[in-house]
């Protein structure tokens, strides 16, 4: 090929691309949660469209529950309103198995699939097909106020027990000053209080189902978990705990009203960030245990998936690959600082010196994520996967109904006995109806 020819071809190709860009721009509709990291992603829209002028982005940013209801209705009825959906490790395997999602095995090589943390990638893969790209990953851990801990004359071990947490919480509580030793989720919902309680119950040796799918709420381990939880929250929790979810507790901690808070590792960058009044007095520790070999930490990854009903799968893949790439991480680092990049998805991030020095919580986050084991979550064997959830379609309904009961037990409007009995009953009924036993 002569130079002339090449130049001509290049020019033609350029014209064609330009023509395509102006004539038929693809518009992607992206459904996402109103969490801080996603709002940052939305703010980066221009960086993406500059690099991909033929793709325009439309954002649908909704609160988590509304979002879940919207995208589930849409995908299950094949509505086709979204090209990219933000979903979690609970949905991905179920939807993937239904054939509702597009496989992402063919993302470009630069995307570097092998860099994804194995614990996270495992949760997003069904029969060897990767069905979603992780945007950020999280486990849970203890975040605590170093100053209050010192005042109480205690020292937080790197791997505390629940007993220690309860004692420390009581010692840190000062109701006059509106300081509450322990903040934890109480708001009903399978992704709210049941995430916390299921993970906690795992460390107490409890489980949702035995190997024959029989509900286990009539077992002593659940009672023990619930008694410990309500007892501790009663002694040292904030008022209104049964209405507090992740966001409410985050606000409390940022205002300096919590001594300890056990929740998602992603919260670490918020409690040490600019909005926090206690940013330089926060320490981190692993989620507590009771010595049975399982810790009370979960595993979750908000991920970007492409519904099979999309009419622009290629453009959607381009976007997903971009938003979950190292390149995106660097863009955020440049604009907002390394501490604010989406955490918990890539090994390389935890080998990046700049990140490690900017994020004091990095080490603990990685340890927490790596210690969670969704395929083997409990002390006794179970037929399901998932640490803080049971990866079956029926779980959302059951989890939320049980969550209502436990939230009522925390509020004191029902007894622990009644809450457990109702939970057992409704879980058994629902499983029976769904044909498990």
């Amino acid at each position: 090929m002569t130079k002339m020819n090449r130049a001509l071809m290049g020019a033609t190709a350029f014209c064609m691309v330009a023509g395509v860009a102006s004539a038929q721009q693809t518009t992607l509709t992206i459904a996402t949660v109103n969490n801080g990291d996603m709002i940052r992603m939305q703010g980066m829209t221009d960086s993406f469209t500059e690099a991909n002028p033929d793709i325009a982005l439309e954002w649908v940013t909704l609160e988590e529950n509304v979002l879940r209801q919207r995208v589930t209705t849409d995908i299950a009825t094949n509505g086709g309103q979204y090209d990219v959906m933000t979903i979690g490790t609970y949905e991905v395997p179920i939807w993937g198995r239904q054939g509702w999602l597009t496989s992402l095995n063919d993302l470009p090589a630069e995307w570097n699939k092998d860099d994804i943390l194995p614990a996270i990638a495992g949760g997003l893969t069904v029969d060897g097909e990767l069905y979603a790209a992780p945007f950020y990953g999280e486990s849970s851990m203890v975040m605590y106020r170093t100053d209050l801990m010192e005042e109480a004359g205690l020292e937080m071990p790197e791997a505390p027990t629940w007993e220690f947490i309860r004692e420390a919480a009581a010692a840190m509580t000062d109701e006059e000053a509106e300081i509450y030793g322990i903040c934890a989720r109480g708001k009903a919902g399978w992704g709210e209080n049941m995430a916390f309680l299921t993970a906690m119950a795992n460390s107490f040796g409890a489980r949702w189902f035995d190997e024959e799918w029989n509900a286990q709420f009539d077992q002593p381990e659940w009672r023990e978990t619930l008694e410990f939880y309500t007892g501790m929250m009663e002694e040292s929790g904030p008022p209104g705990a049964s209405n507090n979810g992740f966001n409410e507790n985050l606000a409390l901690f940022q205002q300096g009203k919590c001594g300890m808070w056990i929740d998602a590792t992603v919260a670490a960058s918020f409690v040490t960030g600019a909005d926090s009044t206690v940013a330089d007095q926060v320490g981190f520790a692993l989620a507590p245990d009771t010595g049975l070999g399982k810790r009370g930490n979960w595993l979750w990854a908000w991920s970007l998936a492409i519904p099979a009903s999309t009419d622009a799968p290629e453009a959607a893949k381009t976007f997903v690959a971009w938003a979950t790439s190292n390149e995106y991480t660097e863009l955020v680092a440049e604009a907002e600082g390394w501490a604010n990049v989406p955490p918990g998805t890539r090994t390389s991030l935890y080998e990046n010196e700049e990140y490690l020095s900017a994020a004091p919580f990095a080490e603990m986050t990685l340890q927490s994520i790596e210690s969670a084991d969704p395929t083997n979550p409990t002390v006794d064997p179970v037929p399901y996967t998932g640490v803080q959830f049971v990866a079956i379609p029926e779980f959302q309904g059951i989890g939320t109904a049980v969550g209502q009961q436990f939230s009522a037990a925390l509020a004191g409007t029902t007894s622990i006995d009644d809450a457990l009995a109702t939970a057992q009953q409704l879980t058994t009924d629902e499983m029976e109806d769904a044909g498990y036993n």
Binding site: P239, L252, Q255, P393, E394, G397, T414, A434
Partner: protein, 290 residues
């Protein structure tokens, strides 16, 4: 005055509205009925099949159903009582001569324009929150423990929020009615030595009867389907303490994604709503025909 010609014209004119509403009601209703006899979970669509009355059985024997029924009644009645009683008192007050009547009326009418979602969010976070809410500050300022409204008295709190939204509506209708009251009659009664309370009972109240009926009818229509306020504030909890029928149907269809049971719940709710409707229409019929 009705000639055959105008009758026919009337039929034609009434047709679009009737046909549209009939379609709007019947098509989804038939589909809901159809689904209500099926096992249909959105997340396991392959497992679909006929199950007879099983969905109904499950919905009706669900312990939450009874709570939801009672809560729905309490919610509707609670809000009605509050808005009618306060509405009458407020209307009488606003009818008195005063300075800046127009501005006061603007202040009173305002909550009616606020989106239910917004008002629930504002009340929940900025007022009822036991740590950062204004009520918590107020309680502490007078030396009391902050009260945790949404956990300790969830239904009452929701009734309060909804009543705040609907009080302006009741007040305005009642005010318009009071303003049409014949003042000569009042004066005559006063001359005859009737005290203010007697005048209220024997003259004002009977005069307001019709307006009160209208307030009850319109509000009941909207109160039966209260949903956003519950979703935003308590999610129906703790337990089922603030779950009403609408919310229960929502929980079945969109939290559990069980379309079958949700549809059965929808049919039950439709039947109950119609019972209320018939009851209301009887009442209205008597009062409005006059």
């Amino acid at each position: 005055m009705a000639t055959a010609h105008s009758r026919a014209a009337a039929r034609i004119m009434i047709a679009p509205a009737t046909v549209l509403l009939l379609g709007w009601m019947l098509i989804p209703l038939c589909m809901t009925l159809y689904y209500s006899f099926q096992r249909y979970r959105l997340l396991t669509p392959d497992n679909r099949g006929w199950v007879g009355f099983r969905n109904y059985e499950r919905f009706l024997t669900n312990p939450a159903f009874q709570d939801a029924l009672i809560n729905t009644l309490l919610l509707v009645l609670g809000v009605l009582v509050i808005t009618v009683v306060l509405g009458v008192l407020l209307a009488i007050l606003l009818d008195q001569p005063m300075f800046g009547q127009g501005i006061v009326r603007i202040l009173v009418i305002a909550p009616f324009f606020v989106m239910p979602t917004v008002s629930a969010l504002v009340w929940k976070n900025m007022f009822m929150n036991p740590v950062n809410g204004l009520f918590a500050y107020a309680f502490e300022a007078v030396g009391l423990q902050p009260y945790d409204f949404l956990s300790q008295a969830p239904l009452a709190s929701i009734i309060g929020i909804v009543a705040w939204q609907w009080l302006p509506f009741a007040t305005l209708i009642l005010l318009t009615a009071i303003q049409s009251l014949n003042s000569e009659q009042m004066e005559a009664a006063e001359m005859d030595g009737a005290g203010p309370i007697q005048r209220f009972i024997y003259i004002t109240l009977p005069h307001l009867g019709r307006a009160i009926t209208v307030v009850i009818l319109i509000q009941t229509i909207f109160l039966l389907s209260i949903f956003a306020e519950i979703l935003v504030t308590t999610n129906g909890g703790p337990g089922t303490a603030s779950t009403n029928l609408t919310y229960l149907v929502y929980a079945e269809s969109l939290l559990s994604f069980d379309v079958g049971e949700g549809s059965a719940g929808g049919v039950v709710a439709i039947i109950l709503a119609n019972i209320v409707a018939i009851f209301l229409m009887r009442m209205i019929g008597k009062n409005l025909d006059a």
